[in-house]
Symmetry: C2
Subunit: 304 residues, 2 copies
């Protein structure tokens, strides 16, 4: 196993409706999807908060994957709840209800043992909190970060303060255009890389991923699936697979980055095949490597 | 040069407005973009109709690229005119005006010399007319075809009759879902391949292309450009580059198909850099090959 990964984000109960079924109060949240996906590649530590309704069977999911949950704090009250609905256009989600509950007062305290983590993923939380996390980490090798429209519009200065300390920003294309205030993605990426991150990864849902890394651009399609059941957590599973593969590698370079993008895409593709973490918690390493090879077959072409 | 290509489609005058500029009555049309793009790879013949307002300077564009225009019929009246507008989201176009003019009575007659063409591209015209074209061709090696929502909804039976005689269908993702009446793209592709075409190529604009070829799937991103000036004709330039590369190759197989998809993407990427055919008519073969190599750099990753 490679370097250790720290993820700070949400652990939640999701209620999700898709054209293929409906589930209530199932385990979700950015830190959950991220940590399970990355656990196949490297040791993972979680900082998040849950309520007193969080049961042993939920804890068991983390334990099954040897995820360190010393930083999973239990607070009085209910766990963060989210309810959403997808139509046949699975790229688009309608949020029906958000109850922050204990997540509203989330103030991430990094346990002593976590402070030497080499790889840090700042899930989509208040950019000011993301910065306080970084202040508690000693000398991370790679800091990756997610954010969203809500923070880009509501706290643009805080987002930019945090980005100055981030190596890799992982957001979607709408967020990229909004953050850079620039409709062209290539120019937007260039503006964002001037804000701090050396690398920008743009998630495009069913269309795949673009990675801007200095002057280099890498593009990969999403894996075409016959069954897309529930897109919830795809972005966090991607980030988890990506950071996991990065931490597992012995080096940080363009070649490792590209391979890690594909491992991220692999984990996202498994995640959407079933509701919640049902597929992600039941994978073998050989299934993961097999799909990696299928990605090679999907994208390979020859010049002569 | 490889096998000869026949294209049947529209030649038009376009008026286009984008956030970057505006032009009136410039040369356009599916057969125009297709034939110029494919002319870099193989001999091309055009069957289309223009009005008495079609000038020598328009003819000169075809001549410059050694495109055979024996089948470019001149009719009394005005040439087909289209007017459209793009916003910053260049994937979406608003049609402001369509004047079919001489195109309304277009009845493609294939000149004797064209009837042995090995590669045939049926541009987006009435599916009944597409079928009459095929009836005039002796033994084509590959028949590729475009169509659109208007025909899929308005003449579904005629579309299916034509598809039974088509090897490769080249349409966008919305058309794919509509034609198959199936929201999942992989399942939709499978249904469409049951209708006749062995190969389905799904154009996804700025997100690239998916090719379904029997059990194999190939995905390629679009080339990320800093300057996207005018997306008009991108799909036809793609089809032209694809069919051109196919005709240029000595063989028809998955490897050749994939390489041709990249050449199609190369031609589409050049086309959108300037208004009308301005970029497409001023390319060198070495510029084309250089961008092909850039596509390799864009998509390449290694397993170990």
């Amino acid at each position: 196993m490679g370097g250790s990964i720290l993820v700070v984000g949400s652990v939640a109960f999701d209620s999700v409706k898709t054209p293929f079924g409906e589930v209530d109060d199932i385990l979700g949240g950015s830190a959950t999807y991220f940590s399970v996906a990355s656990s196949y590649f490297a040791p993972v530590r979680v900082v998040a908060v849950v309520g007193d309704d969080f049961e042993d069977r939920h804890i068991a999911v983390f334990r099954k994957h040897q995820i360190d949950i010393e930083g999973l704090k239990r607070a009085e009250g209910r766990t963060f709840r989210w309810k959403g609905e997808y139509g046949y256009e699975l790229n688009e989600c309608r949020t029906l209800d958000t109850q922050l509950n204990v997540f509203a007062a989330f103030n991430p305290v990094i346990p002593e043992a976590y402070r030497t983590s080499e790889y840090v993923f700042l899930g989509n939380i208040d950019p000011d909190l993301q910065l306080t996390v970084l202040e508690q980490i000693q000398r991370p090798r790679i800091v990756a970060c997610d954010t969203m429209n809500f923070w880009i519009q509501g706290k643009p200065d805080a987002v930019k303060r945090t980005l100055a300390h981030v190596d890799i920003l992982i957001i979607n294309d709408g967020e990229t255009r909004m953050l850079a205030n620039e409709p062209n993605l290539v120019r937007a990426a260039s503006k964002i890389m001037d804000m701090g991150p050396e690398t920008l990864i743009v998630k495009r849902g069913e269309y795949g991923v673009l990675m801007f890394n200095g002057k280099s651009i890498f593009g990969a399609p999403a894996f075409p699936l016959e069954e897309v059941f529930d897109p919830t957590g795809a972005g966090d599973s991607f980030a988890g697979g990506f950071m996991g593969a990065l931490a597992h590698a012995s080096d940080v370079n363009e070649r490792v980055f590209r391979r890690s993008i594909i491992y991220g895409s692999v984990m996202a593709s498994f995640n959407v095949e079933q509701f919640s973490l049902n597929r992600l918690t039941n994978l073998t390493r050989s299934e993961i490597d097999q799909r990696f090879s299928q990605f090679k077959a999907l994208t390979h072409f020859e010049e002569f």
